[in-house]
């Protein structure tokens, strides 16, 4: 019996040795901001392609655009790379003067040539966000005539119709219109790809930070751009992909990260009691809604659409399942947008709903299905609605499914009710009006598939009104037009809009000036400091 104890002993010793040294656990380095987030949505870091939340935040921190807006009041538009601009009398030609003496991170000067190249490139590559520029009549074939350099620091941008100038400017402030370093991209171009295969994982910008390294689903590192005018207080920002929210919480409380970006409501409630941690939040341009398919004969009745709006317990959802993550909001324009209506007239009112159902000839209710993505908050909301719908005799069957599957079905108009959210593509009200209030062709083979189309809803005169609003150059009149559109959709539309999303981050107290903005590309780490 000699060998065994010896063997066990040595094995035990190895195990103890391996576990007993305390890991070197200092706080994160003082010049580095470490964030934990879920970044598995990043597919590319090319601004011409980026359309995902996480990646647009990276683009926001690493690139510049012609135009920027004040994140506290998005109606205040100013130049970023543009020093000034003018709009021609016919409202179709925008002339921009570029700020002199600006440089890319590479050291190359920023000129009008780069700006023009960036727009040509985004339109020619024609990736997901290209429509944001394409909607002004720009195509691969005509973009070189429409967007032209007119001097070393001057260029023009020509649109096909006299749109409201703010729409054009907001779109030029979008991440798709980020200014890329032409010289650098030309060097890395292969077979006329505009440097696309290179830039997907690399960097060619002029923003406060440089994108230094990206390992998919692992880590993304930003570093201070020495050529940027206002140097960032921190030398680098590290984004760690931590999928599991409970792990994010542990890392945060332990001080191994400075910011946790994806905690769920219970975890936020728990860490908010930690004296070293503060909670930060900002409303986002995303609304949660139910889409009622008008191909379903019951849902097509106006009284039923209205009844369902009375059968949601808005306050309870916002206070429990979506605590910290959303506020009650019933109009299609998120707060902060031009013309956004903040009136929320609907409340849970079973008696009123029953009355409406009786008028529709559905006194005893009906059975209907809801395509529900299997995430905890969407499932929770769906269950809450199931119980309130039941109070009026409506039997709601929840069909749990994967998000891509739900989307595929939604885009084929095969759902009864779809529960989802919609984030604006840019800060102009047209982004949402175009999808909630307009539908040019309600036939099954229609090319465009706005949300109105997906729910088989013909908004009638609202489509024309939406198109008119986008041409209105007087901001006040324009705001009024959007208010009318919202009211019409709120009264009769096939959408039960119930929440506006809030983004929340748990931040260690020694971190100052980390900013959550109204859109994901406005989440700003460039002013953050640590003490």
């Amino acid at each position: 019996m000699k060998r065994l104890p010896k063997f066990l002993l040595s094995a035990a010793m190895v195990a103890t040795m391996a576990t007993s040294f305390a890991a070197v656990q200092a706080a994160t380095p003082p010049d580095t901001l470490v964030q934990a987030w879920q970044s598995d949505d990043i597919i590319s870091l090319d601004p011409a392609e980026v359309f995902e939340f996480s990646a647009s935040e990276i683009i926001g921190n690493t690139y510049e655009r012609l135009i920027q807006y004040d994140i506290k009041d998005v109606s205040k538009i100013s130049g970023q790379v543009a020093e000034s601009w003018t709009v021609s009398d016919d409202g179709k030609t925008y002339t921009f003067k570029i700020r002199p003496n600006k440089k890319f991170a590479s050291g190359n000067p920023i000129t009008a040539e780069d700006v023009v190249y960036s727009i040509h490139r985004a339109v020619a590559l024609d990736k997901s966000p290209a429509f944001i520029l394409g909607q002004f009549g720009l195509t691969k074939d005509n973009v070189k005539d429409k967007v032209k350099q007119t001097g070393p620091l001057e260029m023009t941008f020509e649109v096909d119709k006299p749109y409201a100038p703010t729409l054009v400017l907001y779109c030029l402030g979008n991440s798709v219109a980020s200014i890329v370093d032409k010289k650098l991209l030309v060097q890395n171009e292969k077979d006329g790809d505009w440097g696309y295969n290179w830039l997907k994982t690399k960097y060619a910008g002029s923003g406060p930070y440089i994108m230094r390294d990206w390992k998919a689903n692992e880590v993304l590192v930003l570093e201070r751009n020495p050529n940027y005018e206002q140097k960032t207080p921190l030398a680098r920002v590290i984004f760690r992909h931590i999928k599991e929210t409970a792990s994010q919480r542990l890392l945060l409380e332990k001080g191994d990260i400075d910011i946790a970006r994806n905690l769920n409501p219970e975890e936020i409630a728990a860490v908010s009691k930690n004296p070293d941690i503060q909670i930060q939040s900002a409303p986002k341009g995303t609304v949660y809604y139910l889409g009622l398919n008008q191909k379903n004969p019951n849902l097509a009745k106006p009284e039923v659409r209205k009844a369902l709006k009375y059968l949601v317990d808005y306050a309870a959802i916002a206070d429990t399942i979506m605590k910290y993550k959303g506020d009650v909001h019933q109009n299609f324009l998120p707060k902060g947008f031009l013309g956004a209506e903040t009136d929320n007239p609907y409340k849970l009112d079973v008696a009123k709903a029953k009355e409406l159902l009786a008028q529709a000839g559905l006194k005893d209710g009906f059975t209907v299905t809801m395509d529900t993505r299997s995430t905890s908050d969407i499932t929770g909301i769906a269950q809450a609605m199931q119980s309130t719908f039941a109070q009026a005799g409506i039997k709601l069957e929840i069909l749990p499914m994967d998000s891509k599957q739900a989307l595929t079905k939604y885009r084929a108009r095969q759902h009864d009710i779809y529960i989802g959210n919609w984030g604006s593509d840019y800060q102009d009200p047209n982004s949402n009006a175009d999808t909630f209030a307009a539908n040019d062709d309600n036939s099954d083979n229609a090319k465009a598939k706005p949300l109105a189309w997906r729910n088989a809803w013909d908004p009638g005169p609202l489509t024309a009104k939406t198109r008119a609003a986008v041409m209105e150059r007087d901001a006040e009149k324009r705001a009024q037009m959007y208010k009318e559109l919202q009211k019409a959709v709120l009264d009769d539309g096939p959408f039960v809009i119930f929440l506006q999303q809030t983004e929340v981050a748990a931040v260690r107290k020694n971190v100052k000036d980390f900013v959550l903005g109204p859109s994901f590309s406005d989440n700003d780490s460039s002013k953050a400091k640590k003490n």
Partner: protein, 347 residues
């Protein structure tokens, strides 16, 4: 025939078994590819949306659909896929935009590192525990080993993982938290093998090495515990079987020490089926333990495949499945070879 003939027949049998192996490998992989491919195509998920997103205008949607070859008949798509796969082109992942093979080369070492350590821990502790339990059948120790096995079988691993983190990382501070290596160290070495422990040790970055150890130890022990539960249980039952054999009685009658009877004779015979058990458990861990990888933010194969699956990234799913298939077949081959080494009867 003379000795030369013996060589020829040995060579022939070697070639035969090699050919057999290659055929098995090929048919397994082809079958796997076919099943995964068709499942991937019949699920009601539109792969184009996964690529272009929900807001893409119709012309972009159509272009990508054609690029993917989705407008062609299913059988034709499969033939195209297999043809490309044979040349090593598994297509590009939608999520990471890299060639699938590059992605797998990136994530597989992480899984390999964790699975190997886990299996080592499981084997080093599982076999002695199993043997002791068998020898002292019915004793307190035996009950304990069975309890350990039962817990290992029935407690969900993500729960144990989180509890482990809470205790050893958050409360006691003995080990590092989720991730493979601290960001401070992650740029001190250049990834060569992709196995952090090896890379840091080979480049003499000992601080980074120890940091990596303190990151890997908890998930490795956790996986080790699960393979221990399995291995100890199997060892116990194999040993019980062997200890009841006549040769054991004969050995005891001959007056051999109990140590020698158990460890030299009985275990040696039990080792043959144990090899398969260990290989299977290793293969299981190599598939990537999704839950462990998620809790510990471990960028391995399991997370990669699950994530791809959830995002309808079928190229990545197919590639990953084929790699797992190949790993299984290879491990089977290895355990086959070990069998021959350990058991003269199978030669």
């Amino acid at each position: 025939m003379n000795r030369g003939g013996g060589h020829v027949s040995a060579l022939r049998s070697f070639l035969k078994s090699t050919a057999q192996f290659v055929i098995v490998l090929m048919t397994t992989l082809l079958g796997l590819a076919a099943v995964t491919f068709f499942i991937g195509r019949v699920v009601p998920i539109d792969p184009v949306i996964a690529i272009v997103g929900d807001r893409a205008p119709p012309q972009v949607y159509e272009r990508v659909r054609t690029e993917l070859g989705l407008d062609r008949p299913l059988a034709e798509q499969f033939v195209i896929y297999v043809k490309k796969a044979v040349t090593g082109d598994f297509g590009n992942s939608v999520l990471t935009t890299n060639p699938v093979l590059t992605d797998i080369a990136n994530v597989f070492p992480a899984t390999l590192e964790l699975a190997t350590l886990g299996t080592l821990i499981g084997t080093l502790f599982g076999i002695p525990l199993g043997v002791l339990a068998a020898v002292k059948r019915g004793s307190l120790l035996d009950q304990f080993v069975r309890l350990v096995g039962l817990v290992g079988y029935s407690v969900p691993i993500f729960w144990l993982g989180l509890m482990g983190l809470l205790l050893f990382y958050a409360k006691l501070g003995w080990v590092a938290g989720p991730g493979r290596i601290d960001v401070t160290y992650s740029y001190l070495y250049t990834p060569v093998t992709g196995i952090v422990l090896l890379d840091t040790a080979m480049q003499g970055q000992w601080d980074a090495f120890w940091d990596a150890v303190s990151h890997v130890i908890l998930p490795a022990c956790l996986l080790g515990y699960f393979s221990l539960a399995y291995i100890s249980r199997m060892t116990r039952s194999f040993m019980l079987n062997e200890l009841a054999q006549e040769y054991v009685i004969a050995a005891r009658v001959k007056g051999l020490s109990e140590m020698r009877v158990i460890w030299r004779h009985a275990l040696r015979n039990a080792a043959v089926p144990l090899v398969t058990v260990i290989a299977l458990s290793y293969a299981n861990l190599l598939e990537g333990s999704v839950l462990t990888e998620t809790v510990f933010a471990w960028p391995g194969l399991g997370q990669y495949i699950t994530n791809s699956l959830q995002n309808a990234d079928m190229n990545a799913v197919l590639g990953g499945t084929l790699v797992i298939g190949a790993v299984f077949v290879l491990l089977n081959l290895v355990s086959d070879l070990l069998y021959r080494l350990l058991d003269p009867r199978t030669r």
